[in-house]
Symmetry: C3
Subunit: 305 residues, 3 copies
């Protein structure tokens, strides 16, 4: 993870690091514990609404024995015009050691990492339509738990690839780990560079072959829905319907980052079906975030050995 103490982008993820983090997350899931060398203070600065990721990071921090300080974006000094950088340096001056940040602006972290007065440990919990590396890693953990490897696994990524750099990042890491990728969805949602990582396919044709269906969330809150495609039409044409799920191998699984738009990306009945790993992803997220934060704290000698 480069010269700074941060996980901000999947660009930082070598195959070795992914493997180490998955191993450690699985160990945490099996009850492994860790000890801090001194009290460590964390703050989760979320400038967008979130239940899942916010709670997951807080749980991970508490399970690592850290002290979590309250942050409420609506009641913060950003309303007085304070910049993100000034807010973060403020909490650093107050003694916070680790921050997770979700912020609507893409690449918000670049000026921070370029500023040698910014010295906290940083985990990017999502920047606009940009990176969300802990989400990528918990997906990888969930796939690895199921199959024990990535090489030659067939993964189809379905849905709103256009607005999702997460999807683009997942492509990159899954491809680097040896998986075979397919993309499905409306033609206008594909970008030319996708060809580098996999092939655009007809969803019906590929379903009987794939091991993993990665569904993407339609982010209604980020942009108005296409006038040309209703929720029901999306579901029929590109969603995981009951009929499509029936074409999958019994060993295949489906993932979704949630919150789910029921009966749009996926039929309601499939959200908690036996082959769904959607709630398992949330469970795994806590342990993966423990592994990520522990890894970063180790570099600061804040973990006992």
């Amino acid at each position: 993870m480069d010269n700074y103490n941060a996980l901000v982008s999947v660009e930082q993820l070598t195959n070795k690091l992914v493997t180490n983090l998955i191993d450690r997350a699985i160990a945490f899931k099996s009850g492994a514990t860790t000890k801090l060398t001194r009290p460590v203070y964390a703050m989760n600065l979320f400038f967008e609404n979130s239940t899942r990721t916010h709670t997951s990071f807080e749980m991970a921090e508490r399970k690592l024995g850290m002290t979590v300080l309250d942050f409420n974006a609506q009641a913060s000094s950003t309303s007085k015009g304070e910049t993100l950088s000034d807010t973060l340096k403020t909490v650093q001056a107050i003694g916070v050691d680790v921050v997770t940040v979700r912020h609507p602006q893409n690449d918000y972290y670049q000026p921070l990492l370029a500023d040698n007065r910014f010295q906290m440990t940083l985990v990017n919990a999502g920047d606009g339509s940009g990176q969300h590396p802990s989400q990528c890693l918990l997906d990888l953990m969930t796939i690895f738990e199921e199959f024990g490897h990535f090489t030659d696994l067939k993964v189809v990524i379905c849905g709103d690839l256009r607005h999702s750099r997460v999807a683009r990042s997942n492509m990159q890491v899954l491809s680097q780990l040896g998986a075979i990728l397919y993309f499905a969805g409306p033609a206008e949602w594909f970008a030319p560079e996708f060809a580098h990582y996999g092939q655009v396919v007809d969803l019906e044709r590929i379903l009987p072959e794939v091991d993993v269906v990665m569904l993407l969330r339609i982010q209604h809150e980020r942009f108005a829905a296409d006038a040309t495609l209703s929720d029901a039409a999306f579901h029929t044409q590109y969603g995981l319907t009951i009929a499509r799920a029936a074409q999958l191998k019994p060993s295949a699984i489906w993932l979704h980052p949630a919150p789910v738009n029921r009966d749009v990306e996926i039929a309601t009945e499939l959200v908690e079906a036996p082959q769904s790993r959607i709630f398992k992803q949330m469970t795994n997220g806590v342990f993966m975030r423990m592994a990520i934060i522990e890894h970063l704290l180790e570099q600061r000698h804040l973990i006992q050995h």
Copy 2:
């Protein structure tokens, strides 16, 4: 408490359970402590504004040694259209053990209790105009502390009975415990079924006889005030005025769930008067909620013996 690990309604309260919970709450008040068998994680999901009940549950959880995770409804994924059920299953997947929920929708808990994938301990902290069992139990504790019994205690319930299923629930439990009930207030606020539990009386006539005056809150935030009855007129006709309080026996007490509308349900001077138990109710609430949560955790073997 039935087949699920939840307290959602006073329908669950047998006399034996009420007695046990009051005994245990009084023990906690006297300094009794309890130990958890492992770290237990709690979250208070309040979808309506609250200081008293929210803080009381948080204090109870902390005094029981639980770890409390932050939840802010305004910053949660419900704004992305996530259902209550999905939000709760999310925090369950993340590792939360106990939730308290206040939600504007009556009976929100019914589908949860019918879903065997919902496995957290649940305490209903208020559903719309519906149930609020911990409030009922802290009222009972406060009455019991005063008189040591319920049999033949004379209790008058005054005020907005119409919009308050809490009031209806209190009638049921107090009646079941042997108290003698009277109701006072505007005639149009009574329902025929009240006759089952007690009699409608003229407030002036009954005051010299009663042991307990239970005032109900006029919920201005739930519905517009009756155009026909101003706050001042309500106070004069049905409120606990200084003149009415003077008619009470010296041993009589008055209760109010708070927040109080001063000089509407009760004269300002009476809120903290010697016979008021309004702030004592709040103090008792913490210990009663400790007893409730401990009772539910015992069934999951999370309490040391």
Copy 3:
């Protein structure tokens, strides 16, 4: 600190108390610790937006080993019309021992201190345009750390003196401690009583002589900016520009309570310059607040000896 267990105003600060608090804050900064005689519960009730002060109090409380309960003004019962006094007595009844309060109303604390049923420890974290004693004390600590004394230190206070009783309070305490005070800024921002504490000067003339430049924040959120003076014009005429900073002695420092309006009160380049103590003020704030709260808890015998 008078007959009540509160720090609400700099009027309470004798020279001896200031010295004791600074000594203790510096000891905390060097690693001194303290122990509570029983669990102590704190709540920070902020009815105005704040990152710095809110987080600083929370960190201080946690470093003292206190349990901090959540309070979110927007989700509280004040929206149901509950008064501040009733909210505070509620959390007192629930078992909170220490509250810090920021509230838009000047002197909100006067009725509380006059009410002998209010028994919590109170630290005023800002009342409207009124007092903010912990901010004053952290400024004094930062100056003392630098120079080791106050006598004959030359301090110029620049900016929006008109709307800042904090500034007025700082004048009083610094003057009482023996510092020599100067005031700079628009003529219409001075009040006749300032003459009691120091002299109005031309900023350019005094800069080469002063030890400390105390910049004040222009509180855009409290009142509309003067139509007659743009941000840029204020900076040019009264702000700490790079040219003005160059006139200072190398040993001189500048302070600002933050959040900073960059390029208004101070040039961006000077915020983190070597002579700036702006972030050090924030660091010191935590230790000073530990000293304040410990001092108040000692009077309640809640600190072990």
